[in-house]
């Protein structure tokens, strides 16, 4: 980087900015290290943005959840498929992949929800709806 300033990419799912790695250029497909969302890099006057790949599809939420679990070292249990079905239902009814077990339809409750991104699974062993689980050591 010429000015020595760390470039960041805005993720439209977790609404945070994560570090841009060396070699990433416009059009590259990357995974948000905070929420697991697959993003295509786009340069805009506001800076680097991530565009959601496969937006609104079951593939999107499945890949997001699996990437998030892999990044954090979490596992799923036998409820996984039913919870994915619930997430897809939330998107159909309320426009986003909100937690299927909550009434809240605000950005911080998009899966993985803010408490989960903030470490609820480490503290409690599972997330609110039992989608992500801490691995047994």
């Amino acid at each position: 980087m010429s000015d020595g300033k760390q470039e960041r990419i805005y993720c439209p799912v977790c609404l945070a900015r994560f570090k841009k790695e060396e070699g990433w250029s416009e059009g590259a497909v990357v995974i948000c290290p905070i929420c697991g969302q697959k993003l295509r890099l786009v340069w805009s006057p506001e800076g680097w943005q991530g565009e959601r790949v496969d937006r609104g599809t079951e593939k999107e939420i499945r890949e997001r959840a699996e990437s998030f679990a892999r990044l954090r070292g979490y596992s799923f249990n036998e409820m996984k498929e039913e919870l994915i079905e619930g997430l897809v239902g939330k998107h159909r009814l309320f426009g986003e992949f909100y937690c299927p077990c909550r009434m809240e339809h605000t950005p911080e409750y998009q899966c993985p929800c803010k408490p989960t991104r903030g470490g609820d699974v480490e503290r409690k062993g599972r997330c609110y709806c039992g989608f992500f689980w801490k691995k047994q050591v």
């Binding site: 039913e82 919870l83 079905e85 997430l87 239902g89 009814l93 299927p100 077990c101 909550r102 709806c129």
Partner: protein
């Protein structure tokens, strides 16, 4: 001073208490499992999918749920004076005497 309730009295109260009531979310798999359990056991119950209500009715239902359970977790199953939060097959069986 009143003595212990007679079996007749207890039975009358149970009948008067009406059918079980379920508050659920249409997208919640634990709510679906609860409804499936009641259906499989041929239990006649009333169910409200709170997320599908209009705003005014939703506020009313949420207020009722918070009053009954002190939180906003689903499902909520009301069987007579027993309130069960979450999918709990053991408690459902006990409350329904299955």
């Amino acid at each position: 001073m009143t003595g212990p309730k007679s079996p007749e009295h207890t039975r009358t109260v149970r009948v008067m208490a009406g059918k079980p009531k379920v508050y659920a979310l249409s997208t919640c798999p634990y709510c679906k499992r609860t409804k499936r359990f009641l259906d499989e056991h041929k239990i006649d119950y009333d169910c409200t999918d709170v997320d599908l209500l209009d705003d005014a009715k939703q506020d009313e239902a949420l207020e009722e749920i918070e009053k009954l359970t002190g939180r906003r977790s689903f499902p909520v199953v009301i069987i007579d004076d027993e309130i069960i939060v979450g999918y709990d097959e053991q408690r459902l069986r006990k409350a329904l005497r299955l």
